[in-house]
Subunit: 470 residues, 2 copies
């Protein structure tokens, strides 16, 4: 176990164990802050910090003028979904389902548990507006001029600096700015594959990747994926040995929808494999900043010295979805990616690139991320507990170590596409599992986003959703 | 002849004729404003308006405290380039040449006659910045949220209103917002063609179209094109009869680089032909607002009732290149275009769409365009006259009725790619003709932009360039 460096971490950990062991039970009053100060010989602010931490995890709650109480402990622990065993050859068309979910998302008054981004309330709107004003002053022509095809030099430099702790230096010249991560994936796929090629991906996986691959005429091989550790390198190895795979596309950190995080050892093995077979790996790493551990997980790219990894990232899931700013480090495929970007769209929006560059440079992005991670980690616990409380028996749920998605597996007999229609009538939307495979599977699963601030409306929606599952 | 409705138009026209007939010669002093007032029985402001008009055309100049003088009349009239006769089967790679021109454009101190957009000095920077501020206030979440896949509803409504004078109503639902016109062309081509298909285009034509088509695996048939009236419908008809053409892509109004404008009769015929053959026409109309005549030329789309025309446009060449805002009215291909947009980039930048919507709504765009057209028309004359004066004999030059490009044809023995290298050393850049065909031709031609404010530096650059042509 890692040694805790802060006193308040130690205190919080102690109390968390007491709650888990039911030394302290739901509804119990916690020791007063003064008592904590005496017991641990710490200042009042340290004691308070410990309680804040427990509160952010939803383990305790403060009641005005009464002190702190044990808030809730799960009445049962839900199991994890098993490693997926994707079927093949049962192609279904999930396009209609996806269109319906998209359409319903925009409706007023619905609780959008299907949301693909953190809620506006978690984003630093005012600070970004200030950044916009500064950018109009700083940029020649206030950003009316075409940006370089490769993207703002300022932004590329700041991104390279932001990730300079990683294994292999990015360098501002090794980056190409894109219109969000989807554009990065699209350019990467177009650069390294041809119509008729086959790519290997996780399963379940973000439907956008499947749709894009299909529209580019690619065959998709879905690999068995563990809800906590992602694809097994062995499964990839087997696929490479038995099939002609032309490229891999993996969401290495906090895969959407599973939340899985590939351990470093797996990342190294995957990189070794793609090097051995000489095929590119498109690494979709757009959730990497939203980690709940002590440090950012590494990318596959950071273990690669061959230039075969195209590392894709953006600020769409953490800061400014509507700005459409992302980037790719395309390794040895840089020239081709640049050419495609020029041909398809010439350049990206100038001013939003500058705003993001400024946000990185001033440390505002790092500051914002600290708060966002804190909130989302607490949300993950709160939403999970509500599911444990309100969903029927045999429900399984992922335990993500980052991101803002829960993957819920229901009884085999439940069809979440049908459940979806009932839920929408009750003004609750979620993403049915069938959206996350081209193979007409995961029909008893759903993806729930915990990107909205926790409140009674959310809790009620989850309770209601639990009741609808019959 | 159209009846002049304004008195000052009549006066200006009278004087223009006097200059053309050498009743008034270069250097002659013009009648005083008072004399004009007496002669025509008009107010001083009307007389002044007439002189302003002549001045904007560069026909007369005012000298402080001396009055107005005949400025310059061309010492010779240059001929028009002939209708192009594109060759086939001599494929050249213009990619390196294009890369060189792009690279040199960014260098400090060079006179960028190769520029693809009007200079910053002609764009309403301050007003757009104000619009940006207003947009942050008006948009929910200040534009941080994802925009609809189809694009801002506000923008689509305003675009539909702006073009409501045209033949067939657009309707906001018939439009899809894109990241500039190149993105509109790219989505359109991907929607209506497949790898291996053949498309017909003008020749010479904007290299970006050729590069995009090539990268999508399309074969390009270049059609003979007249510098004033664009492609001959007869040539298209012949191509359709003798080859399997899967789609047409035409720059109907002020083609880049020729400046050609298809007469309405030709547009009607082309629309009839594509209907007859049942193939789509991608209409690139991004220069249509920069007309020098009395009204905006019509689009091919406005003559179509089949839904086969995909009409592409943007504000990149008139207002805000770096905003990346354009649109396409994809007719019957709307679903496919929308799907591709979703797959490749999800949505466009939210805030810049709102700024442009506001600019259209308040009439600021129309106002800005009036000034821009005025300046560019005057520039066209000034640049053309300088070319007539400084370029060698046998030079031919286009006479564009809009846009901001001149197409210059030099003696057959001149290689403009080699001339380019000499010019760049003198800090002058232009676009060599070979960039505008896939067939290794037009090597004695060049495209010159008149999008920069006319001044001594420009005149010197044109003089120097003329001297370099040996």
């Amino acid at each position: 176990m890692k040694v805790k460096t802060n006193l308040y971490d130690q205190i919080a950990a102690d109390i968390e164990v007491q709650i888990a062991q039911q030394v302290l039970r739901v509804g119990d009053k916690l020791p007063s802050l003064r008592l904590i100060c005496e017991r641990y010989s710490v200042s009042q602010s340290t004691a308070l910090q410990a309680y804040y931490q427990l509160e952010s995890k939803s383990l305790i709650e403060s009641r005005p003028r009464s002190g702190y109480f044990v808030h809730r402990s799960p009445n049962r622990n839900l199991g994890l979904p098993a490693t997926s065993t994707p079927v093949h050859g049962t192609a279904g068309d999930m396009h209609d389902l996806i269109s319906r979910v998209y359409r319903d998302m925009g409706r007023d008054g619905a609780v959008p548990l299907s949301l693909g981004v953190p809620a506006l309330a978690l984003l630093p709107v005012a600070k970004l507006n200030k950044g916009l004003l500064q950018a109009t002053r700083k940029l020649k022509g206030s950003g009316l001029e075409y940006e370089q095809v490769q993207g703002s030099e300022h932004l590329r430099r700041q991104v390279a600096l932001f990730y300079s702790g990683e294994g292999r230096s990015l360098g501002s010249d090794g980056l190409v700015v894109t219109a969000g991560c989807m554009d990065a994936l699209s350019l990467s796929l177009m650069a390294v594959t041809q119509r008729g090629d086959t790519i290997a991906v996780e399963s379940p996986v973000y439907f956008g990747i499947l749709q894009l691959a299909k529209s580019l005429g690619l065959t998709v091989v879905e690999l068995p994926t563990h809800p906590q550790t992602g694809i097994e390198p062995e499964a990839l190895k087997k696929a490479l040995m038995t099939k002609k795979i032309n490229a891999c596309l993996l969401v290495s950190n906090f895969n959407n929808p599973l939340g899985s995080l590939m351990p470093d050892e797996h990342k190294k093995e995957v990189v070794k494999l793609i090097q051995q077979y000489g095929i590119p790996l498109i690494e979709d790493d757009l959730y990497g900043e939203v980690y709940f551990g002590n440090e950012r997980p590494r990318s596959c790219r950071s273990f690669d010295d061959s230039g075969l990894v195209l590392w894709c990232c953006s600020v769409s899931k953490t800061l400014a979805p509507g700005y459409r700013v992302g980037w790719v480090a395309p390794g040895k495929f840089k020239d081709e990616v640049l050419r495609l970007k020029l041909y398809h769209s010439i350049a990206g929006t100038t001013i939003t690139q500058e705003v993001i560059a400024g946000f990185l440079e001033t440390g505002r992005y790092a500051h914002h991320l600290r708060g966002l991670r804190h909130t989302l980690q607490a949300n993950a616990l709160r939403y999970s507990r509500a599911i444990a409380e309100y969903f029927p028996e045999h429900t399984r749920v992922s335990r993500p170590q980052g991101g803002f998605m829960l993957w819920v597996e229901l009884d085999k007999r439940i069809d979440t596409a049908m459940l979806y229609d009932r839920a929408v009538r009750q003004k609750i939307s979620f993403a049915p599992g069938a959206m996350f495979s081209l193979q007409n599977q995961y029909s008893n699963c759903m993806r729930l986003s915990y990107g909205m601030p926790w409140n009674e409306t959310i809790e009620n929606a989850l309770r209601q959703l639990g009741r609808l599952i019959i």
